[in-house]
Structures are given as C-alpha cells and as structure tokens.
C-alpha cells in the first residue's frame, strides 16, 4: 500500500482530537449531570441519540457491499467487501460509544452486560450489537485469510441475517413504544432497514472516494456508476417508506393532530421534514443521481451522498426528538395543563456538550475506519475499468 500522503495522517490526527473533545464533553455531562445538556424530563433522548442511531443504522447498511459480494455472488463488489466490513464495525463502535457515554450511569456498563430483561428490546439490542461485532470481525478475517475464503460465504450469510435482525431491533426501540402516537408502528422496523442501506452506502461511497483521492489510486467511473445506481434505489425506497408511514398515520382520525404537527405546524420539525429530509435528503439526491447529464460526474455523486446523510440526520431528529416533543394524550377530550408540561409541545435546544459527544462519536467511527485502511490490507490498490 502506498503511504505517500501526509494529508492522510493530518486527517487522522484531526479526527482523533475531535473524538477526544467529544469524550471531554461526555465527561462534563457525566460529572455535572444531564442538566447541562439540552435534555429534560420531557425530551429524554436528544442529539446524542440522533448521532448514535444514525451510526448504528448506517453500520448495518455499510455491510451491504460485502453481503452483495459474499452472499449474492456479485463479483463486482468483491474488492470493496473488506472495506465494507471495516466501515460497518467502525460505525457501530462509534454509535455504541455515544449511547454508553450518554447513559445516566455510564459507569454501570457491567450492570448492562450482566442483568438482562429479555422482554426488553433494548436488552436484545445489547446482545445483537455485541454479537454483530464478533460476527463481522470473524467474517472480515475469513475474507482476508486466503485459506479461509470458502468460509466467507456462510459467514457473510450469518452477518446479513444478523444485521437485518439488528436493524429490526433498532427500529423496534421506537416501533414498540405503543404509548406514543409518534411511534407505535410496525413499519418503523423495515423502514429502519432500508434507511440503513441508504445511509450506510452514502457514507461508504464518500469514504471510498476520499481514501482513493488521498492515495491517488485509480478509481474507474464504472465502479462509481454502479454505486450511484444502488444509492438511487435505496434513497427512493426510503422515500417510499416515509410516504407509506405518513399515509398510514393520516388515515386514522386519532393521528391527525400528530400528522399536522409533523407536516404542517410543527415549526422546526415541519421545516426539517419538508426542506431537509424530503427536499434535500430524498428528492434532490434522486435528481442528481438519475439526471442523464450527470451520470459520469463524480462531484454530483459526492453531493448526493452528502445530501442523503444530511437528510438522514433530519429524519432521525424528527423521529427521535420530534416524536417526544409531541405531547402524550392522556386525557382525550380535555385541554390539559400542568407543572410538568402536559398538553404542550415540548421544547428542546441541544447543548454544546451533546453536540460534542455526538460529533465525537461520528469522528471516532471515521478515525477507526481510516486508520484500519492505513494499517490493514483492506482497500484494493486500484479499481480499474472492467470488461463486463
């Protein structure tokens, strides 16, 4: 592997510093208590959870390329399979680090690992996440060790099934919340799976292009075109699921108030929905991906990926924070007031500490992925044009 670019190490050092600042932010929240965060007894999951769920969902989807190669036998994706696995691991570790550091008692990690309530989807997720790390590590080794190649297919199949279950679990953290109109939908599980495909692929394409660019390796347009088409299908599928989710909610009269909150008069959430999630995050990337004139444009693909990621953050912010901002309907037919913010839309202003923690987790994930690229034989030396 070429180790020419000092820019690479510069990026790694910058990422490490940002991740360290994130740890410092988390430490401050831990010492002072969550009152220094923007979270309250009304909005109990905030910006750190948006970052964490983004990373965990993207981690599952980032493994798609490896699955396509190992399980579905698509040879064209084979050169990127190891990178796909490494990125998946890195994103999951980053996301879990955020979740852990945002706990009220992060020092009780050992309790979380030893006391299980098997009726809790959260407890299942702890097992699914740690299991995923073990399986993908094994899968990666089987792909990298030549003598073990034949075992990479069954390992890839196991990893594929595992991550589908894992993302079902992540979506169900919200889908199983029957008390809140904003959640309580079986659709959230498959929607999170398709979101994982789009978000994970967008990150993978960006990092692939960054890495090849830094090392000045050859990356033929045919490879990018294939990934571009895949991203188009995934982004359109996310759009489809969002439409069906809201149509389902809109059909029942009891959900009309919640829907008008998200779609019409929810302030920041309505803005994020129409402008960032749908406009910038779904429709514009689809236009960029499918515009005939831009098919060979690498720049348009970079922009499309960045927009998909921006849309992802907006979508998760609406699901996680917006879902809590909308008040619980405990007393139907009454106007409700209380000292505990019953009956009002709850406000949430993220604090610097939460941003540092969330962003720190994201940079830690990128740091792990880029560092692995530097020290392990993961990325092909070139992705040349193929004769297929």
């Amino acid at each position: 592997m070429k180790t020419s670019s000092s820019g690479y190490w510069g990026i790694l050092i910058a990422l490490a510093l940002i991740a360290l600042i994130g740890v410092a932010g988390a430490h401050h929240m831990d010492v002072e208590g969550h009152h220094v965060s923007g979270m309250t007894n009304q909005i109990v999951w905030g910006l750190p959870h948006v970052f964490a769920i983004f990373l965990i969902v993207a981690a599952s989807g980032a493994l798609n390329i490896a699955s396509l190669a190992s399980v579905f036998g698509k040879q064209a994706y084979k050169p990127l399979a190891r990178f796909s696995a490494i990125l998946s691991l890195a994103l999951l570790v980053g996301g879990l680090a955020i979740l852990l550091l945002d706990l009220g008692r992060p020092d009780r990690l050992i309790v979380a690992m030893t006391y299980y309530n098997f009726k809790s989807i959260f407890a299942w997720n702890i097992i699914l996440y740690t299991g995923f790390i073990v399986i993908v590590l094994a899968y990666l080794w089987l792909m990298m060790e030549r003598r073990m190649h034949r075992w990479s297919k069954p390992a890839g199949l196991l990893a594929l099934i595992w991550r589908l279950v894992l993302t079902t679990g992540t979506g169900s953290i919200f889908g199983f919340l029957v008390a809140r109109e904003s959640y309580d939908s079986a659709l959230l599980a498959p929607m999170f799976i398709i979101m994982s495909f789009a978000f994970g692929l967008a990150l993978l394409i960006l990092l692939l292009m960054l890495s090849f660019n830094l090392d000045r390796r050859e990356l033929d347009a045919s490879h990018l075109l294939r990934l571009r088409k895949l991203l188009g299908i995934f982004t359109a599928s996310v759009f489809y699921f969002v439409v069906v989710f809201h149509l389902t909610k809109l059909y029942g009269t009891q959900n009309h108030e919640f829907e008008s909150f998200i779609l019409m008069d929810g302030g920041i959430y309505t803005f994020l929905f129409w402008c960032i999630q749908i406009g910038l995050g779904n429709l514009l990337p689809l236009a960029l991906i499918y515009a005939p004139a831009l098919q060979q444009s690498a720049k348009s693909l970079v922009i499309a990926c960045a927009l998909v990621i921006a849309g992802a953050f907006a979508q998760l912010y609406i699901i996680i924070v917006g879902g809590q901002a909308y008040p619980l309907n405990i007393f139907p037919g009454y106007i409700v007031e209380s000292s505990f913010y019953d009956g009002v839309v709850n406000s949430y202003v993220p604090s610097l500490w939460e941003f540092l923690l969330g962003f720190g987790g994201l940079t830690a994930a990128l740091l792990i992925a880029l560092l692995a690229l530097r020290v392990l034989p993961i990325m092909p030396t070139a992705l040349r044009a193929e004769s297929q």
Partner: protein, 251 residues
Amino acid sequence: MKTAPDNPLPQPARRGFLKGAAAVATTLVAPGIFLYRTGQAATSLNRQARWGLLIDTNTLSEADVDACVSACRREHGWQVEQDSETDAQWVRKVKLTDQGSGHQKFLPMMCQHCENPPCVDVCPTGASFKRADGIVLVDKHTCIGCRYCMMACPYKARSFIHEALKDQLPVAPRGKGTVESCTLCVHRIDRDGANAVPACAEAVNQGGRQAILFGDLNDPQSEISLRLQALGGTRLRADMGLNPGVRYQGL
C-alpha cells in the same frame, strides 16, 4: 447380609422425636417471628394484596391537589427549583378543561402502578420492577439511566435525576443519573400494611373525608373495593390494557 441398625430407636419413634423438637423450637422462636411481622399482620398471608389508590376528582379542589404535591415533596425530599424542566416531579397537579363545556377540574397525577407496566417491559436491566403487591419501583442499584422507561410510560410518570442531590431523606434514597417515580409511599406500606396512608392521601383526607382512598384492590371487602363496586372508577388510558392500580372518579 443383615446389619444391625445404627439407630437404636425404631423409625416411628425417631419421627415422633423430631416432631416434638420442631414443636418446641416453633414455640420458642415463633413469637419473635410473629412479633416482627406485626407490621404486616393486617394483610392475610395467604392472599396477595394489590395496593391501589382511588382519587375522587369531584371533591378535590385546586388547593387540595397542591397539598398532595407538597406533602409528597416533604415526604420524599424532592423539590422543583429554578430549572423545572429538569427537576423531578413524583406527583403533579393537572388541570383539565372540558373542550365542550369548559368545566374545569384538578387532579394529582403520579405513577399509576400498572398491573402490566410498560416501564418494566422495556427496562434492559430489570431495574424497573413490580413488587408482588403491585407497587412499581426502580432499583437504584441496577438503573443505568437509559431513560427508555420514560419513553415507554403512557402517563409521563417518571423523572430522571439531572444533577447531584443533597439533603436526601432516609425513606427515599435517590441518585444522580437514575430514574425515579412515585413509590406509593412504599416505606409506609411496609411498616403499616393495609393501615398505611400515603402522604398525598394523608394531606387531603382531613376531618374524615376520603378524597384519596388507599387500599387493597384484591380484597373485595376493603373500603377501596367497596367504593369501586358502588361508584366505579376510571383507568387512565384504559385502551392500553395496563390495568393501573390508581383509579379516578369524576372523569
């Protein structure tokens, strides 16, 4: 080959001796045990109690509900200070205005001590738990502060402790970074059994009035059961099938 028995006494005689010894031991030790148990003597040992509250919103004034909240605060040592969005509220005053008639009423809202509590279902470590007598509590030693129970509770009954606490009371141990809620004054119930009166009820049941009635929902002869049979009571979010232990009249 036959061997002589080690024990010179025939079997029935040995059994008789053991029975006698057990009887003597019971006579000597039992009074101590039963003395110790007098606090719970009112509860039949054969039948499991299920503690509940019946709140009569028709007789509660706004001042009454304020008195409930203050009594709970004094009893458990929680305050709502400068930043009330992050302060714990074990019980809160809710003002309801009928959308049609404009009729207003006030009620205290706290943990509803569900028979099927969603907070217990979702808790990853089992820190949220329901006692055999129906009281839903948080084990402060295994709560990791994930707040999933707060997401799952349909009643917004739980609070997360956002900062370090001082001047805690012995009856209500609390801790930064964990979740807490109404305990139904479990310390009083463990001391006084069916004769217990939670602090909120004590604050409003002055002069023979029973605006908040505490009792055993499993005992058909208890006052709370008799009043529920006679006058009925509303379960909040009954559609969810959680069967809360707290019932309201006048809704």
